[in-house]
């Protein structure tokens, strides 16, 4: 999926990048927990899910994208062991004197809740981020599907 002749740049790396990041993060996961892994499925699931999102954020451009940036920041806050940011930035998004405030758009509220970091974006910017986010999400889903298929007993 290229960005096309679009003034809105939403280029997304190839699947390989996503897969690589995901696997890296997963293997990193393993190091974090002791060998006698707490086998609660829920915990595992949560961890994997988090790993998925974090790796997706990294693969999608690290801190270049607003949503990925805020995602990484959220993850880093919660669990400082798993996620490390190379350069801790002071804030994910600029202070709220963004132009979003003067212009209210109630319709995009739900979208803001869905897309990480959407709370501090202008609506048009939100749309852009959503597009990129959708692309990355679909890519990540594909990677995970491949992984599951590959790992599942034949």
């Amino acid at each position: 999926m290229g960005s096309g002749n679009n003034p809105i740049y939403t280029g997304v790396p190839e699947k390989d990048v996503f897969a690589l990041h995901f696997l890296q993060t997963l293997s990193n996961l393993r190091t974090q927990i002791p060998f006698s892994s707490p086998d609660k499925t829920k915990d595992r699931v949560k961890k994997i899910k988090k790993a998925a999102y974090v790796s997706m954020a990294r693969a999608a451009g690290g801190t270049n994208r607003l949503w990925s940036r805020s995602l990484l920041h959220q993850a880093a806050k919660r669990n400082n062991k798993n996620v490390r940011l190379s350069r801790r930035r002071k804030r994910v998004t600029w202070p709220r004197r963004n132009r979003r405030d003067p212009v209210e758009e109630p319709a995009a509220e739900r979208l803001r809740n869905l897309v990480p970091g959407g709370g501090a974006m202008e609506t048009s910017k939100l749309m852009e981020e959503t597009a990129h986010y959708i692309k990355c999400l679909s890519m990540q889903v594909k990677v995970m599907q491949c992984l599951v298929d590959g790992l599942s007993p034949k």
Binding site: D16, S27, V141, V148, K154
Partner: protein, 481 residues
Amino acid sequence: MDVSEKDELRNGNDTTVNYVESANNPPPDWRVSGSNPVSDSYPTENLISSSQMMETLWYDPANVQAVGYGGFNGGGNPSSSSSFRANIDRSLETGWSLPNLLPPKGGNGMFLPNASSFLPPSMAQFPADSGFIERAARFSLVSGGSFSDMMNQQQPLGNPESVGLFLQGQCPSSEVNVVGVAHNDASAAMKETNKQNVPGSGNVSEDTQSSGGNGQKGGETSSKGFDSKKRKRNKQNAEADQSNRSQQSEEEPDNNGGGDKKRNDEQSPNSQGNKTNSGKQQGKQASDPKDGYIHVRARRGQATNSHSLAERVRREKISERMKFLQDLVPGCNKVTGKAVMLDEIINYVQSLQRQVEFLSMKLATVNPQMDFNLEGLLAKDALQLRAGTSSATPFPPNMPMVYPPLPHGFMQQTLSCMGRTVSSPLSPPINGGYKRQEANGWEGDLQNVIQINYGAGDVPPDSQAAATDASLPSSNMKVEP
């Protein structure tokens, strides 16, 4: 040429006016206005171009020096003026682009660059000879010190096109302008003519300011004829114009449409039209090309408050992005309307997120120990990727041996990411053995518990892996990007 002649011209404005009326086309206006406009209020660059143009105007080969102002004094020289006019008309018809950008006092700084950027090639048809330009320059001197100042300060736009531009822009299209020209206040006339011309020009946005509106109010009736013609020409020029400073593509059709609309408006009197036009002019007041702002022209029948303009721009941005999203979300082609579209997008994002969660659950169950073997997974995954992307080709059992380029590249990329250079011996036999060795290296370095779990893998160990082992430097398994 000296100022006296200019005075004579002013006195003979009635003839000029008559002439203009009979001519009923822009050129005479230009000529008239050409004499005055140069004023201190305009930027020197503009004046330079204008002066050049004026020189051109006044010095028709047929008319020689008489044209200066003398030609128009008290009944002037109809024949010469007519021939002169013919020349002018011809030149005009070549489709000079809209210069109109002679901005009123406010936006002086940028006029010149804009003007020069606008010159369309068609302008070259203007009788371009160096003498022409010289005459224009001299003409400027005649009209007053201001011209000369400008001449001295600025490099003369040595092209007739600029002259044409100025002329075009100047074309007042109404008696008011002519009268104004006759008056000694050249600047006022210029402004008025520019104001009148502004509406016709769709391209340059910074010029509009308030000029167009005022001018229109001034001489609507008689100007309508002129305006329509001029706008027609301007519109053609506008389309040929490449110097569209607006940064949004949608502005171009807007501008052109606005120009057309204005023309139609002029011809069919519409109470709303004039107000809208003038409002539009004012609406664009704030735009300034040098600031890199996005210039928007208000459409006909729309509010021209600067707030509403910005609002419109914003709305258009949002709708443009919505269209982009529409392509992204499958099955949204039939959906129209922002609200429904938004719902669809939200649903899609939610479904994707749910899918991620579901797949992570599956992963957790499939691999209970969570011993994700990077290499093994890469191998399998790469293969899966390959299979996913291309049509299913049955892979031989020892899959790693038959690495298609993609996984190979992938492995290489992986390795390079790890801070390792992939050595060539790796190439075909990138196999589990090698990976195993690497894994050991990683473990050694990072105490990374990567279990070499080739449970489901079919990779047979390869003796060659040992060879590579020695060459493996301490791995640097990066987990951070």
